[in-house]
Symmetry: none
Subunit: 419 residues, 2 copies
């Protein structure tokens, strides 16, 4: 079953709102095995709407419309489609009652244009609106299925879940399911990742394997079709194992896991606490810890020591030694990590120092970064040479610090019980 999603609304073409409906509907259709080949957005113009419908009828089985079912003059989706298909509109009694109730509950008088919302295609399936007034409708003829839904996402989503999905599953005789599993990677570029797993990317069809790059790293989405969820995951498992054999060291989590949630999970499991002393990142590493619900179990606090004066004053670092090594140095990162670990009585200390840019800092070129991790008297240090803008470099420093922390926690199987 092939689908096209058609959003109707001039506000979309003027850039006033984003078409989030198309994303929501696409994701849910993928899960039930309906292929979406096109999204189309058109304005509140009946001629262009009909032109778009004629194109969509040639390339899709199911046409899903959002928008244009409301009471105002520019809501014309159902009228245009009815005229195009040569079918009549008729008042739906349940919808009239629903709209009348809606106004009565608010103590407002119903204006005549609101009754227009209760008009539906004759012989169509009326789709209930759980969170608004205008009903949707579903209509199937010999060639195509037409699904009309309201535009506001909070009205469309419940209608889609409770009314449209059952309607589509009932149409579809295959009863196929689609499941996805996302492998989240860090520390490897998209191109290099792809060349490492090239043989898998080229041969795999079920599951399909799709890489996607974002500032947070690269994800690999494995998507399988089958007649049951269990069977679909059984298709995924051996391919995931093959991928892990090739690039396992870069995969830090699955599905919704982030570098930050993974680190907090590992710290919680190992019953370890953490503190950070941040210079170029200015508190970003710690803010990401605090973004995770439950972080307080592993995180009590830390320091931002932006100036050399505060590095000396707050953490007790040796000014002469700092001046000798420079503040953008392995020495400084290691000292910051160790000092903050002690001062906050934590198991692990993180030190972050570097030249964020745009200018060089303390003799080191922009993008030079040192990360220190202190644990059990051992000092682990990492050097980065970044090439982005100031705040990209700061974000990448934070991400890399989590990446190295996760690798350390996983490889050494650190545990507070060892102490």
């Amino acid at each position: 079953m092939k689908a096209e999603i058609i959003a109707v609304g001039s506000e979309l073409l003027l850039g006033q709102i984003t078409n989030t409906n198309a994303q929501f509907i696409s994701a849910r259709l993928a899960e039930i095995g309906v292929d979406v080949y096109y999204h189309t957005v058109i304005g509140d113009n009946p001629e262009r709407l009909v032109d778009a419908i004629k194109i969509a009828e040639q390339r899709a089985d199911v046409l899903l419309f959002t928008g244009g079912l409301g009471p105002t003059k520019d809501d014309l989706t159902k009228e245009a489609i009815a005229r195009h298909l040569g079918i009549e509109l008729d008042y739906d009694d349940a919808a009239i009652e629903h709209i009348t109730d809606y106004f009565e509950r608010q103590g407002r008088v119903m204006t005549p244009n609101n009754k227009k919302q209760a008009l539906v295609f004759k012989n169509s399936t009326v789709l209930k609106n759980y969170t608004g007034m205008a009903p949707g409708m579903a209509y199937t003829n010999d060639e195509n299925t037409y699904i009309l839904m309201p535009g506001p996402p909070h009205e469309m989503k419940p209608m889609f879940e409770k009314e449209v999905i059952p309607y589509l599953l009932n149409l579809d005789e295959r009863q196929e399911v689609i499941v996805s599993r996302v492998l989240n990677c860090f520390g490897i570029g998209e191109a290099e990742l792809e060349s490492r797993i090239e043989s898998i990317l080229e041969t795999q069809t079920n599951p399909t394997v799709a890489p996607l790059a974002s500032p947070k790293g690269v994800t690999l989405r494995l998507t399988a079709k089958a007649t049951s969820v269990e069977e679909a995951f059984a298709h995924i498992a051996p391919v995931e194992a093959d991928i892990r054999a090739l690039i396992g060291e870069y995969i830090f989590g699955i599905d919704d896991e982030t570098l930050f949630s993974k680190a907090v999970d590992l710290l919680q499991t190992s019953q370890l606490t953490i503190a950070a002393a941040e210079s170029l990142t200015g508190g970003q590493f710690m803010s990401q810890l605090a973004s995770i619900t439950g972080a307080s179990a592993v995180f009590g606090g830390g320091m931002v020591v932006y100036s050399i004066d505060q590095k000396v004053k707050q953490l007790g670092l040796n000014r002469e030694a700092l001046e000798q090594h420079g503040v953008v140095s392995e020495y400084c990162a290691a000292q910051m990590a160790d000092a903050v670990r002690r001062q906050f009585a934590s198991d692990i200390g993180i030190g972050l120092t570097g030249a964020a840019g745009p200018d060089s800092h303390d003799g080191q070129p922009a993008g030079t970064v040192w990360i220190g991790i202190s644990y059990k008297g051992e000092s682990h240090t990492y050097r980065l040479q970044l090439s982005g803008m100031r705040n990209t470099n700061r974000m990448r420093t934070t991400n890399f610090a989590y990446h190295y922390l996760i690798q350390l926690l996983e490889s050494e199987k650190l545990s507070s019980k060892d102490i």
Copy 2:
């Protein structure tokens, strides 16, 4: 001039990401007087891409493509368009150099598939990528203009602003200039702002006045057309004055100014230094200071004191008093602000404490926040009752802290010289 925006990427049709690019491009095209009649989204499939192009060529003058310029196998936009138009691809020397530099700066080895990104249409205008590797390109034949841009929004947006807009304005023979001035507001909702300046919104045509809400606040974009930049700004000036007369207290900056850059500017001008003690925000307030180039002139460091133990140990707060007032209290925020100001020998201290959620914290419901600002022995405190998710509440707390700081700096004309 009529335009169609064509996004290429299976991740859009699978619902993994939203087509925010289409919104951004649409809004900017509206400002320069280009009508957008259609958005189309297609997957990484060359045949369907060419089918969509053939349709778009019939109904639009300018076809703007996003996505599919990257190094991987499923990046096929330019190859498909080149084949369709019968034009050749050639390596662009500047782009090869740009990509090679990119890898060298990171100390990574360039894989062959990355060089593919430097292939551009022969005889096209190459569009520089300011924040990534793959260049864009613009090509005009007798019937249509084709603009190809990368998919990641942080790459597409600077390219669109700096390369595509001038290209389109140059195509257009009207030789009209369009200038925009953005008024950045905070502390007022979009609906209230709209009702306060309703008369202006309803009557203004040159400049147009467009409100846009985002998590960072509300912006008002004033866009004027004229035959010269000076004339266009002369249209804007009186309307801006009218708007400022109505809602001036909520306008903190113009164009690219953020709450953060504005605060750093004011601190620099007043020669004041700042330190912060953060609990629920976990370092986010300070990280935003550090995001601004030149922050080191006003910011030496600060504390994250997430647990009550660290509030007592690091800042010397009184445990009994904290237990009596609770950590989510006016008392705690004021004490944190004062203690961190002293400890970091700063002019101004900020204290941030609250219940980020999802759970209540120390007896206070999620969303309860106290902000303290300490200056010259005076304590200013502010209470927020937020209703968002955990990280929305944390971000809004940071934004409100900057908002109150700016109001204080502007209203009291604080100056270190007064001390």
